[in-house]
């Protein structure tokens, strides 16, 4: 569906269903440089199983107008504005990577609007190396290579993709190639500069699910420990053979974890 948020055209995937006020709403927030379709299997499942689904394209990503938002806090406020626009009282926010920080910040700022949050591939702080940031700032293809390699478990180039016939590295590279200049850098910079993680985590009272990849090179599971300790009302699921791109590398296990949690 298309709607206007802050005067700009925004896209949210709804699994071809109209929003139904009687149903729970699950909001999916993607990571840096990605879009709603990164959640394809999971968002489609919930859309066809009795939930309203809003798999968002953040500003400047996918089909939503730019420019990208510069901070995690701005993105959390933007999600709030979007839910206000749609008159949604309460939602479950599922975020991946940068999107997981958005979910965390949203829950801290708007507890009354947050039913639960699921943080997929999360760490705090979510520091990005200077070389990666610098390459992204220059829109150097080396940044796309780094993003692609670090976003997957080491065996991905050799392992079979659960999605038959697809090449996971190629898919990530193609997505990054479609981005407008500066969009990847903006997202990485927002992750790198986000400082409120522990403070916000202390404010979160709703149930929290951590979905972590044991082979995650971008946000290793140990990076989530401080958040887990700060949010006592939380559970954790660890995928033993997955890297950072859990929705693509372990789509069924990620979906199962979300089904059990929601």
């Amino acid at each position: 569906m298309r709607l206007q948020v802050d005067g700009k055209s925004v896209f949210a995937y709804t699994a071809a269903h109209e929003l139904d006020a009687a149903q729970r709403t699950v909001v999916f927030v993607h990571g840096a440089g990605l879009d709603h379709s990164w959640w394809g299997l999971q968002s489609r499942y919930f859309g066809y199983h009795g939930c309203n689904v809003l798999a968002l394209d953040l500003p400047g990503h996918g089909r939503s107008d730019g420019p990208p938002l510069a901070t995690v806090e701005e993105m959390a406020d933007w999600v709030f504005a979007l839910l206000q626009e749609l008159k949604i009282e309460k939602a479950i926010i599922v975020g991946h990577s940068m999107g997981s920080l958005v979910a965390l910040e949203f829950a801290a700022r708007h507890p009354e609007k947050t039913e639960k949050i699921a943080l997929v591939g999360v760490a705090f702080p979510m520091k990005v190396s200077a070389a990666f940031l610098d390459a992204a700032r220059r829109n150097d293809p080396a940044a796309y290579d780094m993003d692609t390699i670090w976003s997957h478990a080491p065996q991905v180039p050799f392992g079979g993709n659960p999605n038959p016939g697809m090449w996971m590295y190629g898919d990530t590279l193609a997505r990054l190639a479609r981005l407008a200049p500066g969009v990847l850098h903006s997202g990485l910079n927002a992750c790198n500069n986000y400082a409120a993680g522990l403070e916000s985590a202390a404010k979160v009272k709703c149930p929290v699910l951590f979905v972590l990849g044991a082979l995650d090179m971008m946000t290793p599971p140990r990076g989530a420990q401080a958040l887990q300790e700060a949010m006592k009302n939380s559970n954790s699921v660890r995928m033993s053979s997955s890297g950072h791109s859990l929705m693509a590398e372990a789509p069924d296990a990620t979906l199962n974890a979300l089904i059990a949690f929601l």
Binding site: R44, N161, G165
Partner: protein, 432 residues
């Protein structure tokens, strides 16, 4: 700064798409000789059918052995994914049927494999899809032939049989300016010699029967998508960007972004047309792919020796191989094909059709048959075989004369091949 590196071509040729079989530990790719896959329960079945979960349902749509080949070729080409088909022709048909309806139009190179020329020039016409053929040596002719209903530009990386080099950067630029994708047949070059996506192509396919399989034992094709063409932005492809009643009202681009083309090609094209690859075939082609990086340099090396030999023969009128300075595409070939121009080429024998017949019949090591890209050396007379349906005018446009002979250089001792050619040329010369 030295960043992380992707695995190299040779490593991907051996490993991409497959880790040791989780069920048995088998290192080689297992042949999953099964038509179908047991569902865990009814909910799992429903989720697979509605694309909420990844997995296999029925081997016409996907199969674990075939998926290894698909993922491996996608990795070698730098694509988002691939679909293996029953043949190279099935791959071409699948691409066109996914993108077009009756009333659509293709602009294609005139220098195509005879079967492709037939499909576009005659067969698809019956289904309302028209083609304008243009010179592959004139990118501007592609531009001039584009109409409002054009949906695809198409050519071969190396034209058949004259080895016209398609200027992919130029033709893809013209295609993209018009909001159209460029599809190339990359059979003669393989991903070892050229990676068309890096040059601007959007879609490609192989007759995997040829160099990918490499041993003349299996017929197959592979269609690969770069994932970089923006169907939504183009606005010319409602097949991918509007709800489709034939598949749960799915808008393929909205659903899957970079994977839209392959999603529809698999879920509609394989489901309804059914030209899938058998698992045994995928296994056989994979054996070839695992040594592609070793075979292609040898194919090229021997071809160069044979071209040099033929160049010095008084029985030969002209040789169509882009590495020869006199070939019209020599400069372009140096730019686009620095590793070599493959192992298939044509030459004209003095004495016309009768000399050509004598020459072919005198060969002992070369096999006279309708194929290329085998480990064994092959020969054919295009005017009476692969291109026999083409008119004299079309033959001329495709660079085929009555005495044109096409060779596919295999992996035998080059000295033996040269000796064979020398004897056959002498035999042909006696016929004059």
């Amino acid at each position: 700064m030295s960043g992380p590196k992707f695995p190299g071509f040779d490593t991907l040729a051996l490993h991409a798409g497959q880790s040791p079989d989780p069920a048995t530990g088998a290192r080689a790719v297992p042949i999953y000789q099964t038509t179908s896959y047991v569902f865990r329960d009814t909910a799992h079945a429903a989720s697979l059918f509605n694309m909420e979960r990844a997995g296999h349902i029925y081997s016409r749509i996907s199969n674990p052995t075939v998926a290894v080949l698909e993922e491996r070729i996608a990795a070698l080409e730098g694509g988002v994914g691939a679909i293996a088909t029953a043949s190279g022709q099935a791959a071409l048909h699948l691409a066109i049927a996914t993108l077009m309806d009756a009333g659509s139009h293709v602009v294609a190179s005139a220098a195509l494999y005879g079967g492709s020329h037939n499909l576009l020039g005659y067969t698809l016409k019956r289904f309302g899809i028209e083609t304008t053929f243009v010179s592959p040596r004139s990118p501007e002719d592609f531009r001039k032939a584009i109409k409002p209903n054009t949906r695809l530009l198409f050519g071969e990386t190396l034209g058949n049989p004259g080895l016209d080099v398609l200027d992919i950067p130029a033709v893809s630029g013209i295609a993209h300016e018009a909001g159209l994708p460029l599809l190339v047949d990359s059979t003669f070059t393989t991903p070892y010699l050229m990676q068309p996506f890096e040059l601007g192509a959007d879609l490609l396919y192989h007759s995997a029967t040829k160099f990918l399989g490499g041993h003349g034992v299996a017929i197959g094709g592979v269609l690969v998508d770069s994932g970089r063409f923006d169907w939504e932005k183009s606005g010319k492809f409602p097949q991918l960007t509007a709800p489709y009643a034939g598949f749960h009202n799915m808008d393929f681009e909205e659903e899957s972004g970079t994977r839209a083309f392959l999603l529809r090609a698999r879920r509609e094209g394989l489901r309804d047309f059914g030209a899938c690859m058998a698992p045994m075939t995928a296994f056989q082609i994979l054996q070839g792919v695992e040594t592609l990086h070793l075979r292609m340099p040898r194919h090229v090396e021997s071809t160069r020796k044979i071209v040099a030999f033929l160049s010095s023969s008084s029985s030969v009128e002209q040789i169509l191989y882009p590495e020869i300075p006199g070939h019209p595409d020599h400069a372009l070939a140096k730019k686009l094909l620095p590793k070599g121009c493959g192992a298939v080429f044509s030459f004209d024998i003095k004495g016309g059709r009768e000399a050509g017949r004598k020459f072919i019949e005198a060969l002992r090591v070369f096999s006279h048959l309708a194929n290329v890209g085998d480990a064994k050396s092959l020969v054919i007379h295009p005017a009476t075989t692969t291109h026999y349906r083409m008119s004299d005018e079309d033959l001329k446009k495709a660079g085929i004369g009555p005495g044109t002979v096409r060779l596919s250089i295999g992996l035998e001792d080059a000295a033996d091949l040269i000796q064979d050619l020398e004897r056959a040329l002498a035999s042909a010369a006696k016929s004059k």
